[in-house]
């Protein structure tokens, strides 16, 4: 039915596939709205008072919060519902992508190299943390390949991310990119980046707004470890008329020479890495930045709110994002310092939660993100 695509690479859906996918979006809106409303009430009315009696004013650990919630029937029902919704998301979109995969691969191959570039490295080992888990409960995760020149996980992601974000990231799903660009432009008004690098770009949803944000002469590079996501992302960027240089690289060990970029960014990448990897990623960002260049990472981090900390712990365990929990406890100023940035040049700030969708269809929770940024000494 209804081709609601924004670009020529976007996977198709039959009438019934589209109706079922629309249902998944409604279910996700319903499940997450009720999960959050009920668990927020539980935290305030039962769990915080309980924990205060037990351990005084001390901030509860993520584990203590998780265990206290686990005893509550309401929490259990809505947790089972939210987890099942995530499984249904892939079980609904996956078969639709699988049936049209030959056509998607043909379209991707036809668009290959027509704008920007794509460089794959089949010999590159995948990070251990990336191979260990099927992130977001996505069967086969982001690297599954079913055949040669595959784009399956990328094409599936373009559809599932649209449903998962419930419309709040806009039709091009670039809300996170736009949010970080606005923050960078407000904090570093003098920054006029000519070369930009996006780390862990997946299919480039957040990368593409950088192509036009800083003027027509900007050169945008994007790296990810997943070949099928990069193939799809490259074809998608060509289809959308955006020149991006995609390459298969690990953000912990980049192939770019020292001092290559004015701006290095990432969007919701850090929480998919690890305690060791984040330190290497910040070091590499510092190395590939030119003097005066800026590193800025957008991620779901909350230092203060018990509820946000509880929910990161929930997502770590039940949405298969293992590092999202302990990321909350990291000392980002120390990691920036170890990476070579001057302490006075580091920032740790919330962004403003925004809904980039517009219209009545985007009646969904929108979360604020945190930015970890640092400027390399000029």
């Amino acid at each position: 039915m209804a081709d609601r695509s924004t670009h020529a690479m976007f996977p198709d859906a039959t009438h019934d596939e589209q109706v079922l996918q629309d249902f998944i979006k409604s279910l996700r809106i319903y499940a997450s709205r009720n999960f959050h409303a009920n668990n927020r009430a539980l935290l305030k009315d039962r769990i915080e008072p309980q924990l205060r009696r037990k351990q005084g004013a001390r901030a509860p650990s993520r584990k203590a919060l998780r265990e206290a919630f686990g005893r509550e029937p309401t929490y259990r029902w809505y947790s089972a519902m939210l987890r099942t919704t995530q499984e249904m998301l892939y079980d609904t979109v996956g078969p639709s992508i699988e049936r049209q995969l030959p056509d998607l691969i043909e379209r991707s191959n036809a668009l290959r190299g027509r704008l920007g570039s794509l460089q794959l490295n089949p010999d590159m080992p995948l990070p251990r943390y990336f191979e260990a888990i099927d992130y977001h409960c996505k069967p086969g995760s982001y690297q599954q390949e079913l055949t040669a020149d595959d784009v399956f996980p990328g094409a599936e992601f373009d559809r599932t991310y649209r449903l998962y974000s419930m419309g709040s990231y806009g039709p091009d799903l670039d809300g996170q990119g736009r949010q970080l660009i606005e923050w960078i432009q407000s904090r570093y008004p003098d920054l006029a980046p000519r070369k930009i690098l996006d780390l862990g770009c997946t299919v480039g949803h957040s990368t593409l707004p950088y192509v036009d944000a800083f003027g027509p002469t900007t050169e945008v590079h994007a790296v990810d470890v997943s070949a099928p996501c990069l193939r799809y992302g490259h074809a998608r960027a060509v289809a959308m008329g955006k020149a991006v240089h995609f390459s298969q690289q690990n953000a912990e060990q980049l192939n770019f020479p020292d001092g290559s970029f004015d701006l290095v960014v990432s969007h919701a990448l850090l929480h998919e890495t690890s305690h060791k990897a984040i330190r290497r990623i910040f070091k590499e960002a510092h190395r590939v930045l030119k003097p005066g260049g800026v590193m800025a990472h957008l991620d779901s981090i909350s230092k203060d709110s018990h509820y946000d900390r509880f929910f990161s712990e929930w997502m770590a365990h039940f949405n298969n994002e293992p590092y999202l929990g302990s990321l909350q406890d990291e000392d980002f100023a120390a990691i920036c310092k170890q990476a070579g940035f001057a302490a006075s040049q580091c920032r740790f700030e919330p962004t403003v939660a925004q809904n980039y969708g517009g219209g009545a269809k985007t009646d969904a929770p929108v979360f604020a993100f945190m930015v970890i940024a640092a400027r390399k000494t000029a």
């Binding site: 249902f23 029937p73 069967p139 086969g140």
Partner: protein, 130 residues
């Protein structure tokens, strides 16, 4: 003769050859939340069934909107039907109302701890009305 595609699901990089079936379930044992794991399974079935009802309802809605526009209802017109923003909003409102009805009992259960026992209310009511 071409070799038939392997039935083994693929989860590997640098694949070659004929298309293999996609992996259907995420790695690792599924988390259970309910006291009885069978309740987790039942909930998943009810959610999937609700999706099937939404699918029927959506297909019916397409029929009605085609007919209202004076168009024939054929598999082709159904496939090429494009709902406008108003019909999408109406469908979304219907789906939210349906989910609220299907999962009504969870919202009821949430208000229970504050409520007095029903037998006590009944006894009191009988006593008061003599």
């Amino acid at each position: 003769m071409a070799k038939p595609a392997s039935k083994k699901p693929a989860s590997r990089k640098n694949a070659t050859g004929p298309q293999r079936p996609r992996q259907r379930v995420a790695k690792g044992r599924r988390p259970l939340f309910m006291r009885d794991p069978d309740v987790d399974k039942l909930l998943a079935m009810i959610m999937a069934m609700t999706g099937e009802i939404a699918l029927l309802r959506g297909r019916l809605d397409t029929h009605e909107r085609l007919l209202a526009a004076g168009k024939p209802v054929t598999p082709e017109t159904i496939e090429s039907f494009l709902p406008d923003a108003a019909s999408e909003a109406a469908r979304e409102a219907q789906r939210q109302a349906m989910l609220t009805r299907v999962f009504r009992i969870l919202a009821v259960a949430e208000t229970q701890p504050q409520q007095p026992d029903i037998s006590k209310l009944v006894d009191d009511a009988i006593k008061k009305s003599g």
